[in-house]
Amino acid sequence: MRIVPPAGRPRQRPLPGPWRSAHEAGEYVYLDHAATSYPKPPEVIAAMVEYMRCSGGNPGRSGHRLSIAAAMVIHETREAVATLFGAPDPLRVVFTPNVTYAVNLILKGLLRPGDRVVTSSMEHNAVMRPLRALERRGVKLTVVPCDRRGCLDPAGFRCALAGGARLAVVNHASNVTGTILPLAELSQAAHAAGALLLADVAQTGGVCPVDMQALGVDILAFTGHKGLLGAPGTGGLILGPRVDPESIEPLVCGGTGSQSELEEQPDYLPDRFESGTANGVGLAGLRAGVSYVLRQGVQNIRAHERELTWLLLDGLARIPGVTVHGPQDPDKSVAVVSFSVPAMPAGEVGTQLEEDFGLLCRTGLHCAPAAHKTIGTLPGGTVRMSLGLTNTEADVERAIEAVAEVARR
């Protein structure tokens, strides 16, 4: 099968170059950016070191200069994240340890027994596990099936919402196939049914344009360590204007550095959902990562990854005995490509790719059994190659040659 190249695909390359050297000494090629981006830009590492050296106070607690310095870093991160996602109010950006925590906060804080929630069949366990737990407590769950490419028909989603719902929750792009879901249409369907839309942008943040206002997203859950190029241990939520914070019970209560005379949790943002000392060092790195993305331009990053994805899809499609899953269209997916070598378990393919060719990718079920069931790869899973800002055409060519060799064995 020949993959048709995208019309007028841009050649603009935002590649940073020098800091690739860490992984491009030739010993290995990192193709696991959907798990976490690597390497990080040097300014991310420098910002984290700088924070530890110079901003050592507890943000928002004490009032001395080191506390203020730390808090300012966190506030600047809040503003950078709001800018990236088109959120008008930085105070509605809530930081959490990761996107899983952010999704859990909303699902467990918002949904009550008897409420109805609608989701897709391509969700990660960050969504499915809390939803299944809530289902056991009386929340009504409807899972709308996607097709074998991971695509979701908005009409089917609209039908599923027809009876009314409290919440619709979907990923923006699958971590298994890269399939991009039509968030704007899904949010319209959700709003028509009186539901809020929670979007998990773990796989699109920083690599695809995501404007939560334009897309009609009410609640956006993001991770800091993938496309935003920050450190693990960072993530968060952005609540849109339709969301009343008081309608969501906090997952954790405690000290916020505000209204300390009260034993009740504050009802305003971000304090309502940010108890305990913040991960200042991680957020310093996130600020630098988001700034890097904004400087490069999300559209440029998208164009780069789209081109590499096309090359990878085209190359894999030419290898006899290899099955590529998902939409096989870089305009309909992010830079996440899943494939199988039917004669060989996915884990074995991954081991050979690393040991014999230095390719680092992820195999198995990717914490998304629902998605694998949808595309027909349960229980064996797939080999997933996910490309990032630092990958090059040479990386993709090396990957295609390696897969061809493994498939011949």
């Binding site: 928002g60 600047e76 504050p266 304090d271």
Partner: protein
Amino acid sequence: MSGGVRALLIFRSNAEALMAHAALSRGGMTAEVIQNPHGCGYALRLRVQTLESALTLLLARGVPVSRVELQ
């Protein structure tokens, strides 16, 4: 910021204080983030001559100020 009467802006939260500080800075106004004299966290201190325009700017930006004190 030495000498003269100064205004102290008190906020519900530290995030609001920092948001106000950023908004004032972008509006070309000078305000200091200082320790909140009434509790933990931060307050803003500015020259009283700039108080009215500071409050106007913060109101326009939707940043709520809980209380104003003169020092």
